[in-house]
Structures are given as C-alpha cells and as structure tokens.
C-alpha cells in the first residue's frame, strides 16, 4: 500500500524540503519555531516507521518501500534514484533524530529573521537526507553541494564575530574537494557499462561498482574522491577549516555540522570510495591510516590545551573522526561494523556535548574553561548529565562509545597491532580533556560569573534525558544497530574481495 504511492526515502527528503520552503513565509518568530519543530518531528516519525520495514531478507516486498527511481536525465544515464539500505536507515535516522533535538534544545534562543533561519535549517536537513539516500552519483553530488549551501548561509549570517572569514574558509575547502570529486565522478562515469538504451554509460551506483578501471587509473581517482571526503570528515591534514568555523558558527548550525554533516564524509568513504576503487584502497590503506592516527593524537593533544569550550569540542571531534577514518581503511567486518556504530554514537555524544556547552554559554555568558568553575553546586542535574556524556565520550564500558571504539580498535588490531596501539592513545587522551573539563567547569570554586547561572529549561532536561537513555541503551544492547548494518557491511566487503 505504502510503496505504491510514495516511499520512505522520498518522504524523508521532501518533508524537510517542502516545509523549509514554507517556513520562509512564516514571519512570526514563535510560529516558525514551532513549525520547524513539528516538521522535524514528522520526519523523525517517518524515519522510525521506516526502521520497521528494513528486513528485506525475509520480506522482499519491503524493497519497494525503500527504493524508488524516476527518469531524470536519460540522455546521460542519470536517474533520480533514491533508496535506503542498512547504512542509509542508520544515517537518515541520525539526521531525523538530530533536528528535533537541536530545535528543542535551542528553543529558548532567539534568532533575528527567524523565518530564514529555520528555513535554512530545514533545507540543510533535506540536503543531508539526500546525500544519505542518493543511489545515483550525479544526484549524490547535487545533494553533497546542496547540504553545504544552507549551512554556509546559517554560519555567515548568525555566527560569531569573525564568522564571514571562517565560514568562507570552510566553504572554499569543501568546494574545492567536491569539484575534484566531480571530475572523478565524470571520469568513472565514462568507464561504466550501460544500464539503459538511452545512454552508453550510467551514473547508477551499481554501474559505478562495475566500472572498469585499471589500478593505475584507480590510484589517482582515489585521491580525487578521498580529498573531498577527507575535508568533510575531516582527516588530518585537511582539518584546518574546522576549529575556526565551529567556533564561529551559531549553536544549532554547529550541531548540524558536527552531529550529522561530518558523517557525510564517513558515509561517502564507505559507499562511494572503497567499493568503487578497491585496488587503490588496498594500495593506500597504510597512508590513510597513518594520517588518521596522526590526526587522532595531534587533535587530542590540542584539545587538552584548549581554553575555549567550543574549540575543545571541535578538536575532540577531529580525534574521534580520525579513529573512524582509520577503521574504514582497516577494511574488515569488525572495523566497519564499529564505524557504523560509531557514526551514530558520535552523533548522539557530540549533540549532547554541544547542548551542554550551549547551556553553559547561555547561562554564564562565557565559555572559557579557566573562567568557569563550581557549576555542579549551582546545577547538579547538569553536572550529572555531563558526567554520563563525558564518560561516553571517553568510551567507558556501559556507554555507547565503548562498544564502537572496541570494535574499531579490534578491527584495526587485526590489520596491524602498532596502529591499534597508537590509536588507543586517543582514548587515553580523551579521558584527559574530558575529565579536565569536568574538574574545571563543574567542580572547583564558584566565582562571580558562575554564581548568577540560571537553571536549564524543562525542554533541555527532556532532550538530555533522551540522549542519555540512548547512550546507555546502545552501550548495553548495541546489536540493535549492528543487525541493521550487517547486510551493508557484508555487501561492501563482498565488492572489495570480488574486484
């Protein structure tokens, strides 16, 4: 019934897109806020329902609910193909879940021109959804760029003092990366077999997986794609845009960027890089893993000495993404499953972390660690939330990150013991900066600035409770996610080994 009229991926794309366009015309700030929240809740509802229709192995009819293809540009073999596999389900859920959380957590914040702000937020959600559901390389490129444009305007319009320069740096970095990828896409496309009578080649993902490329061609094409994805993640040494633009971005935008947008890079590596260029991925795996590990240690060390909360979280995020990058290129079942889980976990954890930083910043007016202190006495509930989230970030057992980091490190260990050993340093170093923050911000002496701190809103309490529940549930029962992505991971591994 459902599949005959519309499919899940279409709904996930069009709900935020259409509501985003409508939001521009709602001039009243309060109504547009509520409208955005409801729109994102509707998307979340669709995403949750779609999770009930994932078991394609036992119910082949579910395929119709999750995949659809329309004729778009037949003369060049491009179609509007969207679909959801295990990984797609996982990441669309993360996207659908993040936006209501962001809207609820920042419900009290006031933004000038609220209609434009919320419209751009919803449009960026549409772009992100598009990236995760696109089954056609050209369509993927469209969404890859379109997810960027609203975020560019969000950060440049509503960000901090140096926002224009910082955001533009971010834009140029990603734009260079995506244009290089475009050249790569065109080149691969011209080596794909035909999937229809109208054109000699095809942009369809299956055609890309079947593209005939010798190892020499793969070697340079690999880098065209890799740079685009590595900038987005970011992997060392392509990370330099990130701390500045996170620092300058408004909180809702930074939550989108670090919670969901960076997953575009991880996702794209798994879907569009490794299966298309298996030979090159096998050739350059050591290079990439070494870069990723340098990134882990380097970013963790810098996070330790940061005094600004926003910058600290930004650097911590680089370290966590570095581990995912290394795990992808370890290329075995355990490490890839760990990465899948880590994408979701990192989304939850960093969202929670940003919400807490936002609360601290809003209630005290500062975000310098050295100037803060004694918040635990003022707001014990906030410090309990933070404790759980900090432990989750470190990767303590019973929290979600423990499972994912354990899987990724095990996978990496199978690949090379030494790499795993160095990557483990990241976990230790993360304990240093997270506990440091705990000590200096929540304990220690209260001062004149922190004395006036006000309490959290009920909405924020609710959101943090939900996030903490997710953190604990996934820590105890990770199979929820691992079952979902099992199929995707084995498919990709099959592609790599066949070629």
């Amino acid at each position: 019934m459902l599949g005959t009229y519309f499919t899940f991926p279409e709904l996930l794309l069009w709900i935020p897109f259409v509501t985003g366009l409508i939001a521009i015309f709602i001039k009243d700030a309060k109504s547009v806020k509520a409208f955005a929240l409801f729109s994102s809740l509707a998307t979340l509802l669709v995403s949750v329902i779609s999770l009930c229709y994932t078991d394609v192995a036992h119910h082949p009819e579910y395929v119709d609910y999750n995949n659809v293809s329309y004729v778009w540009m037949p003369y060049i073999g491009s179609s509007f193909s969207v679909g959801l596999d295990g990984m797609g389900h996982l990441l669309t859920f993360l996207t659908a879940f993040s936006f209501p959380v962001i809207f609820a957590a920042t419900y009290k914040s006031e933004f000038k021109n609220a209609n434009a702000f919320y419209a751009l937020m919803l449009l960026s959600q549409a772009g992100l959804m598009g990236v995760f559901i696109a089954m056609d390389a050209l369509l993927f490129y469209f969404f890859w760029e379109l997810a960027l444009i609203p975020v560019y305007f969000l950060c440049s319009r509503w960000g901090g003092e140096k926002r224009i320069a910082a955001t533009f740096k971010f834009f140029v970095y990603t734009f260079v990366g995506s244009l290089l990828m475009l050249v790569g896409i065109i080149y691969v496309y011209l080596h794909t077999p035909s999937f229809s009578q109208d054109s000699a080649h095809s942009f369809y993902i299956a055609a890309f997986y079947k593209a005939v490329l010798d190892p020499g061609q793969q070697s340079w094409l690999f880098w065209l794609f890799f740079i685009a994805f590595a900038i987005k993640m970011p992997i060392f040494p392509f990370h330099t845009w990130q701390p500045n633009s996170y620092e300058q971005a408004p909180y809702p935008a930074v939550m989108v960027m670090s919670g969901v947008m960076v997953k575009m890079g991880v996702f794209a590596m798994i879907r569009w890089l490794i299966p298309v260029f298996p030979a090159a991925a096998a050739k350059f795996d050591h290079v990439v893993i070494i870069l990723a590990i340098i990134g882990i240690i380097y970013a963790s060390c810098i996070a330790i000495v940061q005094d600004d909360l926003k910058r600290m979280v930004a650097w911590a995020s680089i370290a966590h993404l570095g581990l995912m990058g290394a795990a992808i290129f370890a290329g075995n079942f355990t490490s890839l499953q760990g990465t899948m889980l880590a994408m979701l976990n990192h989304g939850f954890n960093i969202l929670a972390l940003w919400i807490i930083v936002d609360i601290i910043n809003k209630t005290t007016g500062i975000r310098k660690i050295s100037e803060l202190g004694g918040l635990a006495q003022k707001s014990p509930m906030l410090s309990i939330f933070f404790l759980v989230i900090a432990l989750a970030n470190i990767g303590l057992p019973l929290t979600n990150s423990f499972v994912s980091e354990f899987l990724m490190l095990t996978g990496l260990f199978h690949f090379n013991k030494w790499y795993a050993a160095f990557a483990c340093m990241g976990v230790i170093l993360s304990a240093v900066y997270m506990l440091n923050m705990m000590k200096n911000v929540f304990y220690g002496k209260m001062n004149s600035l922190t004395e006036n701190a006000s309490a959290m809103s009920n909405l924020q309490k609710m959101v943090l409770t939900v996030l903490v529940i997710f953190i604990l549930v996934l820590g105890i029962y990770p199979s929820l996610v691992l079952h979902l992505t099992e199929g995707t991971v084995s498919n990709i591994l099959a592609h790599i080994s066949v070629k």
């Binding site: 540009m73 003369y75 060049i76 490129y141 469209f142 760029e145 379109l146 444009i149 305007f153 440049s156 319009r157 926002r163 224009i164 533009f168 834009f171 140029v172 734009f175 260079v176 244009l179 290089l180 475009l182 050249v183 065109i186 080149y187 496309y189 011209l190 065209l224």
Partner: protein, 462 residues
Amino acid sequence: MNAIILTAIWGVIMMFGGVFFKKNTTPKYWAIAGIVIIIVANIFEFFGHQIFHVDTKGMLRFDAFSLHFNTIVFICTLLFFLLSGRDFEKIGIHVSEYFSLIFFVLCGVSIVSSFNTLLLLFLGIEILSIPLYILTGSDKRNLKSNEASLKYFLMGAFSTGLMLMGIALIYGGNSLGSFYIDAINLGTGHLPVLIAAGLVLLLVAMSFKVSAAPFHFWVPDVYDGAPTVVTAFMSTIVKVAGFIAFIHLFQYSFGAMQSQWQTLVVIIIAATLLIGNVTAVFQQSVKRMLAYSSIAQAGFMMFALFALNDTAREGILLYAAAYSLASIGLFSVIAKMSDYSIAGFNGLGKSQPTLALTCTIFLLSLTGIPLTAGFTAKFYMLMAAVKDGHQIWLVIFAVICAAISAVYYFRVIQAIYFKEPTPEINAQMPITPAFRWIHIIIAGLIILLGILPGLVIDWIYY
C-alpha cells in the same frame, strides 16, 4: 534566413523611427515588439516555415543547432530589453539609434551562427563588431567611454586584419581554391605551411573576439568604460555568438586535424582560466570584476573548442544560456546603481529582498553550484573534456580555478547579506515591480535549466 533579414529590416525601422518617435520612451516598446517578431519568425523557421526564400548558394547553412542558438540569443535579448531597456535613455538622446545598432549586431549574430564560407564569417563578425564600437562610445561626454571605444576599435580592427590575412592564406593554400569551410577539411595528414599559418591567424583573431587570454587586454577597459547596458549586451550575447562562430569554424574546417592544433587551445584555456580568475579576485568594482569573470567564463567555454564532440556542442548552448541569463540579470542591477563598488551591494538583502535573492541565484549560477544552470553548463563542459581523454590535468586545473571564482562571486553575496547597508547608495535605486518579476523569471529559468538541462539540449536533435 528569417532572422537575418528581419533583424536588418528592424534595425532600419528603428533608425528612421528616431525621426518620428515623439517621446524618448517609445523606442523601447518598438524594440521589444521587434525582438518578439524575430523570435517568432526564427521559431517558425526552426519548424520549417521560411518567410523569405533566398538562394544563398550554400553560403549559409541553417541547421537545428544554429537556429536553436538564435532562439536562445533572441530570448536573452528580449529579457535584456525588458530589464535594461530604460537604461538606454540614460546614455543620451539618440535612444532609437542605440536600439537600431543592437538590431544590426543581432543580424551579425545570426550570420555567424550559420555561415558556411569564410567570407560570410568575416562579414558576420564585422556586422557584429562595428555597431559595438559605436555603442561603446555612445556616452559621448564621458572620457572613459571615449577611451574604451577607441581602444576597442583599434584592437578590433587589428584582429580583423589578422583574420582576413588568415582567410587569404587558407584560400591560397587549399588546392580547391574555395572559401567554403568544409572544402578546407584536408584530412588528418600533415598541414601545409600556408594552411597552418592561416589556422593560427584565425585562432588568434577569434580568440581576440571571445576575449581569451593572452588576447584579453582590451576587455577590462572596454567593459568598464562602456555604458553598463552596452557592457551587459556585449559581454554576454555577443561573446557567446563569437564562441559559436569559433566552434563552427574549427569543427567544420579543421576538425579532422584537431590533434595538430589542440595544444594551442590547451595553452589558451589554461592562460584564460588563470588570468581571468586570479585577476578578478583583486577587483573592487563589481563591473570590472564581471569583466574579468567573463574572461574566466570564456576559459570554460573554450573547453567546447578543445573537445569538439557532441557533449561539447550541447554544453556550449547550455553555457550560452546559463552565462547570458545570469550576467544580464547582474548587469541590470549594476546599471541601476550609482556606485559600482562591492560596497554598493551592502545590505541589499534588507533593502531589496527579492533582488538580493535573485542576484544570489545569479552569482551561485556563475560559480557553478548544483541546481543552477551554471552547474549543468560547467558539468557538460567538463564531461566533454574528460570524454576527449587527453589532458585530464587541464580539467583538474579548471575546477581549481572554478573554486577560485567562488572567492569573488561570494564576496558580492557576503556584501548582500552579511554587511550593514549603506543607505545613501541604494536609496535612489528605481526598481519597478515589473523589473522584479523579470528578475524572478530569469532566476526561475536558471533553476529550471539547472534541474532539466534537456529543455535546451533536446532541441539540437529535433
């Protein structure tokens, strides 16, 4: 044929109409009526209905491609008249004559889109250029306009000389002694010296006309000095017509021996992209910035000449439409401004929200962001070049240059939305609702072509 004759007739009508038109505003409506008639006549011819039966002895060839290109150009001209028609009244009192000159340019455009002999190429280029020399200097009391006109005339005359020399050499060099462009096609063998010299001279002369580096030095001064309406016309419609002629000539005359001259084109492309993009970054005046950006865009259009395959022919039409629409829209806003600096755009997002949005779409299109026609056009050009198979480095170089172009296009976007307004500059901008609506239509067309490029491309194969 319909278009060539009608544009010429209408040019004469406009010229003598100047005596009878009482008011300065009348010529605009006559011009709009004329261009609508010409569009209709051209579309009729596209579907096989000739109004004028002229035996051209094969000197002109009207295929789907050239007629389709004419339609694109005339529609762009119509939008240009609708947007900027009133700005002609600001230049001087001879409004009717300005329009008449534009119709003569259009006559030249329709000749160069369908020439089949070198002589008609020369005629077309001259008919297209001479009115432009006059239009450039039409702001008689402005020294910059005078300077631009003289510079343009000298440079143009020089390149025309080179072109004639090239034509003469090719005529003398081929054994058939023919001006017909397909008769020159000498196969893939080694080129005779005379033909090779003629080819290089034609390449240089045409590069002058399309402002490709290193023959671009006249562009910034001429585009800057000419009245803004005239700049809008010659940097878009005339330039893409030059490209059509360029590609037409090289495909039919020298297509088979492409491998022998491709390296020259590669050098020109690389130089054009680099000089256009890097110099544009340092411009403070938006008008001058757009002049350099037109050089940069020419670099991308040159890829059609580099590849010369079907994708390139599709792409150049798309590029012509995408580039002309976006530039005409931007120039129409600049023409209304008293200050051309980037600061003139400050706070446009607050004072003119609709124009700010449409200008942003134009700028995004020029940058080549997906969902706009600029992206599909660039995409087709890149695809044509990659398909050619040689020189992938040039394609990578081109996309890096495209990323540089984001720097100067986005500077204007930043001024529009993120800078505080400077009230004294924008206060007196005379914006009518009709102007806004046409802007919205152009922006809509750009997005439509960004999603469905087939709307333009399919007609080539009609």
